[in-house]
């Protein structure tokens, strides 16, 4: 293994957190021409892509430029469709539901590995959040440690004396002002203390630590709730809407701590043409300064979701 392909970790004593070094990622494919997309199916006579088949539904493979790899974690790519121009929002409901089963399967397999303490499923959408390939896809990291955000959620459980997402969901439903969508399986709301202007959380109604604990019907309803939100996002400013989508589930350490499956969205747009930057207060002091009120954002987002139908 060459020096530049090694992945290393250093613990930042001052911040109390791990920093991962994967310097080979400097060479990863960056916004290739449309006809050289590595996530397309391999067309007859065309260049071989990451998926050497003429068509596919959903594909998962080990990332060519991983941030983690066995025996200290995993990094996988999840390609939602062979349609280069699609997005999670435009997937047929059946395909979005199938994706939930794929997520569930990957969570189960990675959770079974002793070197993985936390399975993190996510999607970066849009160049505004650093996307390097436009083809609709997400990623999965298997962390060999429990990362800080997951630890914060476990700390919130302890602080609230039980499942924090359950308690917060109850508060949001009682208030109602920030709820933007709901079905029998999930509730979608802009959180009371949202950091991003149009941040939204898609939360399982019932206490489900992970995708493994969901019924088939709940997986379908989760997919429907996620699609309702992202379709609303697309209509909010009548433009392609960037976001980071983060699936939060129970850690997979030997102790099997609890969790509550929910999906958080962090969109960087604060208006149709202005981005929220993480600047002095956010980076230097760790305190978000928001230009919008969650209740006003929720009203606009609820209207957009309703329009999307």
């Amino acid at each position: 293994m060459s020096e530049r392909s090694k992945i290393g970790r250093r613990f930042s004593e001052l911040r109390g957190e791990e920093v991962v070094y994967a310097i080979h990622r400097q060479e990863r494919t960056f916004l290739p021409a449309r006809d050289h997309c590595p996530l397309d199916a391999t067309r007859p006579g065309g260049p071989q892509t990451e998926i050497p088949f003429p068509s596919f539904e959903i594909a998962v493979f080990d990332n060519l430029f991983p941030s983690f790899r066995a025996p200290e974690g995993a990094a996988e790519v999840v390609v939602y469709t062979d349609d280069h121009d699609a997005s999670f929002a435009t997937l047929a409901p059946e395909r979005a539901e199938a994706l939930m089963w794929v997520w569930r399967h990957r969570y189960a397999e990675l959770a079974a590995r002793p070197d993985i303490d936390y399975v993190f499923i996510f999607e970066n959408r849009g160049v505004e959040v650093g996307v390097t390939l436009h083809h609709p896809h997400g990623q999965i990291y298997g962390y060999p440690f429990v990362p800080p955000v997951a630890q914060l959620e476990l700390a919130a459980d302890r602080r609230l004396g039980g499942c924090a997402p359950c308690a917060l969901l109850e508060r949001e439903l009682a208030d109602g002002e920030r709820v933007v969508h709901q079905n029998d399986g999930v509730v979608v709301y802009v959180p009371y203390a949202a950091r991003w202007a149009y941040e939204a959380h898609v939360v399982m109604r019932e206490h489900r630590p992970s995708l493994l604990d969901c019924t088939p019907d709940e997986l379908r309803l989760l997919a429907a709730g996620l699609q309702a939100l992202v379709r609303g996002y697309e209509l909010l400013f009548e433009r392609s809407f960037p976001y980071v989508m983060a699936v939060h589930q129970a850690p997979t350490t030997a102790a099997r701590p609890d969790g509550h499956l929910h999906v958080e969205f962090y969109p960087p747009l604060r208006t149709a043409d202005k981005l929220k930057y993480l600047a002095g207060s956010e980076q230097g002091a760790g305190t978000f300064i928001s230009d919008t009120l969650p209740e006003e954002s929720a009203a606009a987002l609820r209207e957009a979701i309703d329009r999307a139908g």
Binding site: I51, I58, H105, A108
Partner: protein, 54 residues
């Protein structure tokens, strides 16, 4: 060559639902086809059609 069937069997340590059914491994209604790419990386194709790419 790329696309040859992988060797890993279906795993199910938590749910009891991911085990192979007949010749086709499944997760819920989705068929799973495992492959190994030229460079040794795993590739898994998921499909509602059990015959696709197996």
């Amino acid at each position: 060559m790329a696309g040859t069937p992988g060797e890993r069997p279906g795993q199910d340590e938590r749910t009891g639902e991911e085990k192979p059914s007949g010749d086709v491994e499944r997760t819920g209604p989705i068929a799973i086809a495992r492959h190994v790419k030229d460079d040794g990386r795993a590739l898994i194709l998921y499909s509602r059609d059990a015959q696709t790419h197996t």
